[in-house]
């Protein structure tokens, strides 16, 4: 089993979510995050003074998937979120040792 973590632009979130649902993904956890990367920051001008903004808002998606499903899910995210510009985000996977459904106690792939 794998945990897919995707960091994407907030503006891409709704489309990615809809595409994932259409592709049969049943569950995900979403959080609003900020961070920095190659996009770098920008300078904001407010009331005549300039301020460097180095943290940028992003959306983080977390999806548990069976090993054989992961590749397809990642493809959907990358295809939908890409605008071919810097700052579109990143997707990565981490191995998951076990998953347990709280309600039933089922574990492993049955709990996804």
């Amino acid at each position: 089993m794998l945990l897919i973590t995707a960091i994407i632009k907030p503006g891409a979130f709704e489309e990615v979510k809809d595409a994932l649902r259409a592709a049969g993904v049943k569950g995900m956890t979403v959080s609003e995050v900020s961070g920095m990367g190659r996009q770098g920051g920008h300078v904001e001008v407010y009331r005549g003074a300039e301020y460097p903004i180095d943290l940028i808002s992003k959306v983080r998606l977390e999806i548990l998937a069976e090993d054989k499903e992961a590749k397809g899910i990642i493809n959907v995210i990358v295809k939908t979120a890409s605008t071919n510009s810097i700052g579109d985000g990143k997707v990565w996977t981490t191995p998951v040792h076990d998953v347990v459904r709280v309600r039933t106690g089922e574990s492993g792939e049955a709990a996804i």
């Binding site: 904001e44 001008v45 407010y46 009331r47 005549g48 003074a49 301020y51």
Partner: protein, 424 residues
């Protein structure tokens, strides 16, 4: 002379309008700070209504409008102590009961103190603010208001020197209220020092809809402030009322234009600031300029203020919500521009520089401004220093970072629930 019911009705309404400016200011300021200190910001304005209101009854009115003690500098604090002496149907000020005039003027003292609080956002001990409010209004506001607002009424009741001996024109308080509050704000901000993170973070307003509501209430209340200063329901009130509309509109447009050119976008906060700058500027001038003059006074002052709000970063004083940039600068500009744009077509009947009156009025205006700036800065700075050395006026660094609302009021402006507050 008998009570004039028309005048009395208008002054009752005007007094309520000016009172409303202080809660309006609380919203205007409260929305501009970060969420963690919004309540403290609001409370600094509200508490001024209590502190100054009570002191006004005891000796404040008397210090301001009591018989002059010497050379137009101060009223006798004991003459009207407790204000019982005003409780007579025969105690009249023009056509209105003197007790109503006392109520109207109390509101001016309240808002002048509240205005200062914008410069000390996020970092002043609440108790120190309450104490400062009471002492400052006594040592600085009452004397200056006496200079500016207490006109002679006969041999037996001489008034203040700026109103009578100098004859500078300050219709509703460009010097006594706005320059005064702006200078006090500068002095107190210098004593307090900068907020943690000043200059490196934008400290954007946490609630601009609240700021706009506050600006709207200020504009609305300002009709009482300016047109009410006519102390009558008449032609003078009507002209000052009208000028209060157009100078303010022009002030807003001018600020938005400066921002568009300088920063690339016109902000909501810029609209609110331009409104206040226009209101401040027309305050001293509303009786002495034509409607076109009012537009120029509002626009020029607002442009100066829009550029002045950036100076705090250059010189390193944390005038948090731009009390200096808006009230001192536009108060000064409006007061001086009386000497330029005054037209004898307006009720005050004086010609300024542009209307062939020479520099005479301009010089009088400048003397009044310099006197108020000098006296206010010295006394406020010393008062701030003394309070800081004795009781301490600044909160601890960790309290400032956590937010003064929880530390001083045990409340948060926004209890938004969240994960640990229940729910399924």
């Amino acid at each position: 002379m008998a009570i004039n019911t028309g005048d009395t009705a208008w002054m009752l309404v005007s007094t309520a309008l000016v009172l409303l400016m202080t809660p309006g200011l609380a919203l205007f300021y409260g929305g501009q700070v970060r969420a963690r200190s919004a309540l403290n910001m609001i409370m600094m304005s509200f508490v001024s209504m209590g502190v100054v209101g009570v002191i006004w009854v005891i000796y404040g009115y008397s210090m301001t409008f009591g018989r002059d003690l010497d050379s137009g500098l101060l009223g006798d604090p004991t003459e009207f102590i407790g204000l019982s002496a005003l409780l007579s149907e025969d105690a009249l000020f023009g056509g209105i009961p003197t007790i109503l005039f006392a109520a109207f003027q109390a509101m001016f003292a309240v808002i002048t103190v509240a205005l200062i609080s914008g410069a000390v956002a996020d970092r002043m001990k609440f108790g120190a603010w309450v104490l400062f409010a009471g002492i400052w209004v006594t040592l600085v506001y009452f004397p200056i208001a006496h200079w500016v607002f207490d006109f002679d009424s006969g041999e037996s009741d001489p008034g203040g020197w700026i109103a009578n001996d100098l004859a500078a024109i300050d219709f509703a308080g460009g010097t006594a209220v706005h320059i005064n509050a702006g200078v006090a704000a500068l002095a107190l901000a210098l004593v307090l020092g900068k907020r943690v993170g000043f200059g490196s973070k934008p400290f954007k307003p946490h609630n601009l809809t609240m700021v706009m509501l506050g600006a709207a209430l200020l504009w609305f209340g300002w009709f009482g402030f300016n047109a009410g200063s006519a102390v009558g329901s008449n032609y003078l009130a009507s002209v000052t009322f009208f000028n209060t509309i157009v100078a303010t509109g022009a002030g807003m447009l001018a600020w938005l234009l400066v921002e568009k050119i300088r920063d690339g976008h016109s902000t909501t906060l810029g609209a609110a600031s331009g409104i206040v700058a226009g209101l401040v500027a027309i305050t001293p001038a509303c009786s002495s300029v034509t409607p076109v003059g009012a537009i120029l006074v509002g626009a020029i002052s607002s442009i100066l203020s829009a550029y002045a709000v950036g100076l705090k970063y250059k010189f390193g004083y944390d005038d948090s919500l731009d009390v200096v940039g808006v009230h001192l600068v536009s108060g000064l500009a409006g007061s001086l521009l009386v000497g330029v744009f005054a037209s004898s077509a307006a009720p005050a009947g004086v010609d300024g520089l542009l209307y062939g009156g020479g520099a005479d009025q301009l010089i009088k205006q400048a003397i009044a401004c310099v006197a108020v700036i000098g006296y206010c800065f010295i006394v406020t700075f010393l008062l701030g220093k003394i309070l800081d050395k004795t009781i301490g006026i600044r909160v601890k660094r960790e309290e400032e970072i956590a937010g003064v609302d929880l530390v001083y009021h045990a409340e948060s402006a926004y209890e938004l629930g969240g994960v640990f507050k229940g729910g399924r």
